[in-house]
Symmetry: C2
Subunit: 404 residues, 2 copies
């Protein structure tokens, strides 16, 4: 694709207006929105209003003027992005803490089954948290197997099949409905980590009959660094599962200040402590913006950006480890390269920000709301130039050429 | 005290310069800084810089330009406020989640002891969390007794004595050193909740030989609504205690992306997920400001503000439930009144913001950094007027008189 062709594609892009809704730095092509989403233009004003007016002027009164409802209000908004119903999603804590809460609750509710099954190479915190959960439950074990052995390992000892919908490294995507059905066939629950899905690819929790899910707010949802995470509990499970981190914000009547814990009905019981309100304000802007975009257009543009990059990668002889079928992948493209680390550093030095994932992956995020075909063509021209000269292999290359 | 006398006291106050470091709304006397601290003037710019420059312009690069160190950097700063050493405090999660982590770890490390002992009427989330912790540990129990029965209940079955240093309702303060010593005599650990202490009254964890502690960032530390909380693990316990919420940020090498969890050495293992960076930025401003103030001056002014308010309360015939001895209390004053709720609402309607704690407590926070004697005299004049007429008993009174 030539630059002119790319510009023509961008001009015809029905999502093109969204780029102007973000503050993107000059001289940078940002291909890391799958790690930290870009800043929506509306966020600075929302954060300033939260700080100066809501906190500074209204002070404690703001708790009754929107803050206390924020975790479930924003949860209901995220629900619309992931195929959940109102009252099935809460914003709370981090993805790690939410995984801990849900996995612990699921194991406690089903004492006949003691196994959490997951995939080797799943995002580390998912495996780490599961390891911590089973360490605290007598007889419980974490079973971690390669993807191609999951079906075999999914037996009637499994309490929870914990999978990440889109793989953080390769972008491989599980068929959520099919794997949920397999879990249900053996009597297990399916828990999905949507961190690399929500806002990027179609995710339909209730369409897949999923049981539990978690996800993070700072990637495609553009909620800001370390934005609060979310969790989903299907309505049919809400009465039976109890939050082990039984903090006051999940109490049925937190302001009665009773000594005893009584879980709130519904999704509210999954809240624990007082939420970080400033960070919630930024998250809500990102979610609101994402809700304006047609998910079908996002998926189509993600596929087209990927295909453009993949074709250039092929021409450059790069090994693409991400699936070619759009239905089987997320919204980033990963190349395996023996010199992926210095290559990534050299790209960053030239303003193309992607990231390196050990040991040999160059990962480039394709965020349909604020990236265009021109970005892809420009980035790949820089990549081609680096590969052609090989100069990036010099350990001092990035430092000498850094423009950012 | 007359208004002129109060102004003279304020003029002679060595902390008077700090008031100008806060944005306080016109027409309000804010006596709820023990629930949500006021906004430091420097916060808006710090939050704007975090949003616009660090997130918007630097994007993912900011993780290596200060973000990743923030939880331990701010932890080390808070350590100086609470008598802890560098490397003993981390900022993470909420107070509730931190309590869950520490209590669970302490019980797991000591299988011969299965009891958490705490006080009836302790802050609810402390008791709720402890209830959740023991529910997940076979044989563990939560023993909750009135304050005057704690000594008797502290036996050799107790793993952790969990107390809140300053009581959220009455402001009663435990003698941290004496109760820690009592816990150690029977072989128990002492865990202190410093939420109403840090930044308000002297707290010297290592001076008291305390084992564990938690605390919140949004009260006297002025870190903003739902600011991240902190936890303390005495250096001597750090190797033996393992965070049950074993997330990637507490991993020894999080960016190696290994499947297995290996806890970081030191306090870092108590991190779990990705922290809310925007909220951390606001917290750091509040902590930095607090570090500028001499703790002895804060304690002395807190005592003097309290004595002023208590004397007026006596003259009005109000029942003060907070201790008269400054060494035995925190930095708020609480009056028991049968009509505390409508009285509190009427005060708020006249711009005096305190709060009501069920069933009959009017609680007024005395924050030495931004409150003066004139505030106390003005607030008590409004209180005296309301009590004299009794009009506040009319359920419509607050709505009719609301000015804020």
């Amino acid at each position: 694709m030539t630059l002119d062709e790319a510009r023509a594609r961008d001009a015809a892009d029905p999502l093109r207006g969204f780029r102007q809704r973000f503050d993107l730095p000059e001289g940078v092509i940002y291909l890391d929105g799958n790690s930290l989403g870009a800043l929506p233009k509306a966020t600075a004003a929302a954060v300033a209003d939260l700080t100066t007016r809501q906190w500074g002027e209204r002070l404690i009164r703001s708790w009754n003027e929107g803050w206390i409802e924020a975790p479930l209000r924003i949860g209901d908004k995220i629900a619309r992005l992931i195929g959940a119903a109102p009252g099935e999603v809460a914003v709370a804590d981090s993805t790690s803490v939410n995984l801990f809460k849900l996995l612990t609750a699921a194991l406690r509710a089903n004492p006949d089954r003691r196994v959490i099954l997951s995939e080797a190479g799943n995002f580390p915190t998912d495996l780490h948290i599961a390891e911590g959960v089973v360490a605290g439950i007598p007889g419980a074990t974490l079973r971690v197997v390669p993807r191609d052995q999951l079906a075999e390992a999914l037996d009637d000892k499994v309490a929870v099949l914990m999978l990440t919908h889109v793989h953080y490294k390769t972008a491989e995507r599980f068929d959520m409905a099919a794997w949920t059905a397999r879990a249900h066939e053996v009597g297990a629950l399916a828990l999905w980590d949507l961190s690399h899905s929500a806002g990027a690819v179609p995710a339909d929790l209730n369409g897949a009959n999923a049981d539990l899910a978690v996800g993070c707010g700072y990637k495609y949802l553009n909620g800001g660094p370390g934005a609060p995470a979310y969790l989903f509990v299907a309505a049919r499970h809400q009465a039976a599962l109890v939050n082990p981190v039984s903090g006051w914000m999940g109490h049925a009547a937190p302001f009665d200040f009773a000594d005893g814990y009584a879980p709130a009905p519904g999704i509210k019981r999954w809240l624990a402590g007082t939420p970080p309100v400033l960070s919630l304000a930024a998250l809500e802007v990102g979610v609101d913006l994402m809700l304006e975009a047609d998910p079908a257009l996002i998926a189509a543009k993600s596929a087209a950006l990927f295909d453009t990059f993949a074709a250039i990668g092929d021409a450059l002889g790069l090994e693409c480890v991400s699936p070619r079928d759009p239905a089987q992948r997320g919204s980033h493209i990963s190349f395996r390269h023996p010199q992926a680390y210095p290559l990534c550093q050299a790209l960053i030095a030239h303003g193309v920000i992607g990231d390196f994932r050990a040991p040999d992956i160059l990962r480039l995020g394709l965020t349909p709301l604020y990236l265009g075909f021109e970005d892809v063509v420009r980035a790949s021209a820089i990549l081609a130039d680096l590969l052609a000269t090989g100069a990036y292999r010099d350990p001092q290359y990035a430092a000498r050429h850094a423009v950012t």
